[in-house]
């Protein structure tokens, strides 16, 4: 007996079988394993929060063999870690870079050492534009998944029913649902990590708190300062109220992040601050946010 449900079922299983040939299990955490995707030949992408070792990360490849992987770099902000392996096997299919629509069917395909390839099935529950994660990274889109994230699901590849990669699944960027880190963001972060070893994020070395100003403007008051940080070197003082960075008004810390991204590490940017009620401009050279240590 054949029916539409059988046809869909076979299509989904076919996508899992084909895509699974580019999905590995990643053993980078003392307590659990996750999944990873051979995004390019020799390059495996996984969710950064599942990698808690810098050395002795191993992966179980699609053919079932275990091999050592080296951590090329990772970006906590976007929850992406990039591993290198000797294996030159097939990378996951190309993506068109387009966004899915809410309601589209999706699969998350992962792998575990013992039971091989695994899949969960659901729908894309929401899609919207560029978005900053609570970890501070910028994603090209917000893609929320209505599919259950099980232990080991993070780092798997989210594909549509045609098998086109939409992104990398993570359970660490939202409390309410799994998200897909968009494929274009994965590309960008891999490029940056492979060329520079890390994703450099702009840094002022200040702690900021939003405040309401008398003229209904908003600003950010400097509450703390890294002693030898970029802002301190430029002469910013605790108590200054930042109202603009470059051309961009600073009503919120998101504005500061966006301004830092727009200018880039090493570039000089003019900060407009209120000190004692008077506005003044201070040139600050954007530093690089120190890594986790």
């Amino acid at each position: 007996m054949s029916n539409e449900l059988t046809a869909l079922s076979q299509q989904l299983a076919g996508v899992v079988e084909r895509t699974g040939k580019s999905v590995a299990a990643v053993h980078g955490h003392p307590r659990f394993s996750s999944s990873g995707v051979i995004w390019r030949p020799g390059v495996i992408v996984t969710a950064e929060h599942t990698v808690r070792r810098e050395e002795e990360v191993t992966v179980t490849l699609p053919d079932g063999t275990n091999t050592a992987a080296t951590l090329a770099g990772s970006d906590a902000g976007t929850d992406i870690a990039v591993l290198r392996v000797e294996h030159q096997g097939g990378a996951v299919g190309k993506h068109a870079g387009g966004l899915p629509a809410a309601g589209n069917l999706a699969l998350n395909i992962g792998r575990s050492k013992n039971s091989g390839v695994n899949a969960t099935w659901g729908i894309i529950s929401a899609v919207s534009g560029p978005w900053r994660t609570w970890r501070g990274g910028r994603l090209d889109a917000y893609i929320r998944l209505d599919l259950t994230m099980y232990p080991g699901s993070s780092g798997g590849v989210v594909v549509n029913v045609e098998g086109e990669p939409l992104g990398i699944a993570t359970s660490a960027l939202s409390r309410i649902a799994g998200l897909a880190i968009p494929a274009t963001t994965v590309d960008r972060v891999i490029d940056e990590i492979l060329s520079k070893g890390r994703v450099a994020r702009g840094y002022l070395g200040v702690g900021l708190q939003p405040v309401e100003l008398p003229d209904h403007q908003k600003g950010l008051i400097v509450l703390s300062m890294e002693p030898a940080g970029p802002a301190a070197k430029a002469g910013v003082l605790i108590g200054d109220i930042l109202i603009a960075l470059g051309e961009r008004a600073s009503a919120d810390t998101d504005d500061v992040q966006a301004a830092l991204e727009a200018h880039g590490v090493g570039k000089s940017v003019e900060a407009t601050v209120l000190r004692g009620g008077a506005s003044r401009k201070i040139g600050v050279t954007i530093g690089e946010r120190p890594g986790r240590s």
Partner: protein, 271 residues
């Protein structure tokens, strides 16, 4: 044209509720053939007598015809007309990503349907070396023993457990082997892994271990995986090394004893 609803309706007619007298809760079962064989989990059919409720509301006394605690399978025998047996599928051909649905009596809701996709097929850490089907279907106590079916409505698994939120099912090919050839050899003991090996917690009076004079408190000097491998090797007699009195021995060195356990022979071919 068949959708989830039509397939589930047919599946419901082959699914029963299983209750053990005097026990709260219960499980589900699958009508396996029209003569009245009902497949369920061994952990559902614990006692020798059970009560089965069919989809049409008929309540029938059931006798536990056969149990295989190692594979968590049991066969019940009922007497009824007009039974609609399930169609077994080939679990060996199942692939991750295939659509599946589970019918059973989760938390007592008879005939409830859950749907999802096959997550993975293979062994599970800490659950031996056997193959399990894991599926992203929402199960609850009461689904145990009930069918997991593919998009054609063929039963490809017996829902057995929930691990990390995933439904875990015994493959239908394993169930078919049990129905055709009976239970796999067993020692007839309750075990607990201890640092030295396997501690016998309880020994069934008529079981293979009891006949070989093994007693509760003895410690078998092998791992669970090794024991399962030995039991499935096809050997008629197992020579098991064990310690007696290990609990009271303190630092005293105990002699290693050996028991010859004669296993019940299995039927070679389908009956």
């Amino acid at each position: 044209m068949s959708g989830f609803g039509e397939i589930a309706e047919r599946l419901r007619r082959s699914t029963v509720e299983v209750r053990i007298r005097g026990n709260r809760g219960g499980g589900s079962g699958v009508v396996w053939d029209p003569s009245g064989l009902v497949l369920t989990n061994a952990h559902v059919a614990r006692a020798g007598e059970a009560e089965v409720e069919l989809w049409d509301g008929r309540r029938l006394a059931a006798r536990v015809a056969s149990r295989d605690p190692r594979r968590d399978l049991a066969l019940l025998r009922i007497l009824a007309d007009g039974l609609e047996p399930a169609t077994p599928g080939d679990s060996g051909a199942l692939r991750p990503g295939e659509l599946v649905m589970a019918v059973g009596s989760p938390l007592g809701f008879a005939g409830a349907l859950s749907r999802g996709a096959v997550h993975s097929i293979g062994p599970i850490d800490g659950m031996g070396t056997q193959t399990w089907i894991r599926a992203g279907v929402r199960l609850a106590p009461g689904n145990s023993g009930g069918p997991l079916a593919n998009a054609r409505g063929e039963v490809i698994g017996i829902n057995t457990a929930i691990v990390n939120g995933l439904g875990v099912a015994i493959p239908s090919n394993t169930a078919a082997d049990f129905v055709a050839r009976g239970p796999r050899p067993a020692l007839g003991v309750a075990l607990q892994p201890v640092p030295l090996g396997l501690l016998l917690m309880d020994v069934e009076a008529e079981g293979a271990a009891a006949s070989a004079s093994l007693r509760a408190g003895d410690v078998l000097l092998l791992s669970l995986d090794e024991l399962h491998k030995a039991l499935d090797s096809g050997a008629e007699v197992l020579r098991l090394r064990f310690l007696r009195g290990a609990a009271d021995a303190g630092n005293e060195r105990l002699p290693v004893r050996e028991a010859s356990v004669r296993l019940a022979a299995r039927r070679a071919e389908a009956a």
